[in-house]
């Protein structure tokens, strides 16, 4: 159960495809998602073996389709839930400049969610259904967003650490075997770079400010470091690589690196950056290992990780309630837009008659 949805894809695999998408090949005039695996055994494997991309009308194993729907949906959910911890600070940003930047960033997260939902729809699942799975807790989002943003420095830490970790996960997904997902990730990665840099800049600035500001930056690093490492998901290298979904996802070209490889890369990238900002990372075991050519780091508290994932994090209930109420309170806007479009269409028809 260890696919790379921000490293942690643990949702249930039991969501079946709609009947309408089973056991048949797409007709030419059908939308793009109707192919089925039954007719074309071997075809899919050949494409994967040749490291070719799978496109929406290709026949594909049902398990591949369902794995991707789950991954992409959970990734999309993470993007839109991720708007909340940062949105919390828009009204209290310390300057107009910071406020404009933060609004642009939160807007980007919404955009990333939309790219991903639309890519998921190419697999024959509707957006309403995906949102419903999120709202009823049948699909997860990244655990990192169940932590609160207590200070302005947390906005910096999210950009620098959380988006930094997300980039580490997402860059390999640009080469994912499913074409629409890979293309969505290319767009997302281009935009993430701004997110990471603005976060770094916030902490860099605070670390050069007053003692209270320095302390605030350090406190944010202390709280976000371990959850950021958990974003890559539980250990899945060595013997563990044969458990869960890692081996299958690797074979399918969905996952390119193990959770542990990506986590190590992230640590190696981030430690020198922390030193440059002047922050201490909260791990007494963190040190360069000349022999390995990597930083060693201490044990991650996986109990905390599973606890938060299962719903017992500081903000799980709040995040989901907020999402559901935003959706419900926005219903009248969607209804009004639909009614307006209908009225316009009727007028056009009346005018043409």
């Amino acid at each position: 159960m260890l696919d790379p949805m921000y490293g942690n894809d643990y949702g249930p695999t039991d969501v079946a495809a709609p009947e309408s998408h089973k056991d048949r090949l797409p007709r030419r005039d059908e939308p793009l998602n109707a192919a089925d695996a039954a007719a074309l055994d071997g075809y899919f494997d050949e494409l994967i073996d040749a490291d070719q991309r799978i496109e929406p009308r290709d026949a594909m194993p049902e398990a591949y389709r369902q794995t991707l729907i789950r991954m992409m949906a959970q990734h999309a959910h993470s993007e839109i839930i991720g708007m909340q911890p940062e949105g919390n600070w828009i009204s209290r940003a310390p300057s107009l400049r910071r406020k404009a930047i933060l609004m642009a960033k939160v807007q980007d997260e919404a955009g990333h969610g939309l790219y991903l939902y639309s890519a998921a729809e190419t697999l024959g699942v509707s957006r309403d259904e995906l949102l419903d799975r999120l709202h009823t807790g049948r699909q997860k989002y990244s655990s990192i967003f169940n932590y609160p943003t207590l200070t302005w420095a947390d906005v910096g830490a999210i950009g620098w650490l959380v988006d930094g970790a997300a980039i580490m996960n997402q860059v390999p997904l640009c080469r994912c075997s499913y074409g629409p997902y890979a293309r969505a990730m290319i767009r997302v990665c281009k935009e993430e770079s701004f997110h990471q840099r603005q976060g770094f800049e916030i902490l860099w600035t605070l670390a050069r400010g007053t003692d209270a500001q320095k302390e605030m930056a350090q406190d944010a690093a202390n709280r976000w470091w371990w959850p950021a490492l958990m974003m890559f998901g539980p250990p899945d290298s060595g013997e563990l690589a044969q458990q869960g979904h890692t081996a299958q996802s690797m074979a399918w070209g969905i996952k390119r690196f193990s959770n542990d490889e990506l986590r190590q890369k992230f640590v190696d990238m981030t430690v020198p950056q922390a030193e440059r900002i002047g922050l201490t990372l909260p791990d007494p075991d963190l040190r360069w290992n000349d022999e390995r050519g990597h930083y060693d780091f201490g044990a991650i508290d996986w109990d905390e990780f599973w606890r938060v994932l299962k719903g017992d994090g500081p903000c799980n209930a709040q995040r989901l309630e907020h999402r559901v109420s935003a959706h419900e309170e926005g219903a009248w806007v969607r209804e009004a837009a639909t009614a307006y479009a209908r009225k316009q269409a009727e007028r056009t028809r009346a005018g043409a008659a």
Binding site: D29, Q52, E55, R57, A104, G179, R197, F200, R276
Partner: protein, 100 residues
């Protein structure tokens, strides 16, 4: 195509999009006239992919496309112009920091 002459036998216009290879998006390559979708697809194959330029084709009735208008271009796109902070280069970070 003469959209204002529904009685005429003139074939409608179809816009053609070709996917050059797996992994790439369909890209607009041009248009053609055809009486229906099936023939539009065949004609597109013959017209635009004679040299294996593609692995997949979409044809879309030109009348089904809604385009932004050139007169409104400024009002439509200008709001993005003063938001330079959406680009990573807007942020000043020390030069010796890697992977930012």
């Amino acid at each position: 195509m003469s959209a204002s002459a529904p009685e005429s036998d003139a074939w409608p216009l179809w816009e053609v999009f070709v996917r050059a290879k797996r992994g790439l998006s369909h890209t607009h390559v041009g248009s053609l006239h055809a009486p229906d979708a099936a023939l539009a697809l065949h004609n597109a194959r013959d017209l635009y992919t004679r040299r294996q330029e593609g692995v997949s084709i979409w044809v879309v009735p030109a009348s089904a496309i809604t385009a932004s208008s050139p007169e409104e271009r400024d009002a439509f796109f200008d709001p993005a112009a003063d938001k330079v902070y959406r680009h990573p280069t807007f942020y000043e970070v020390p030069e010796d920091v890697e992977y930012l």
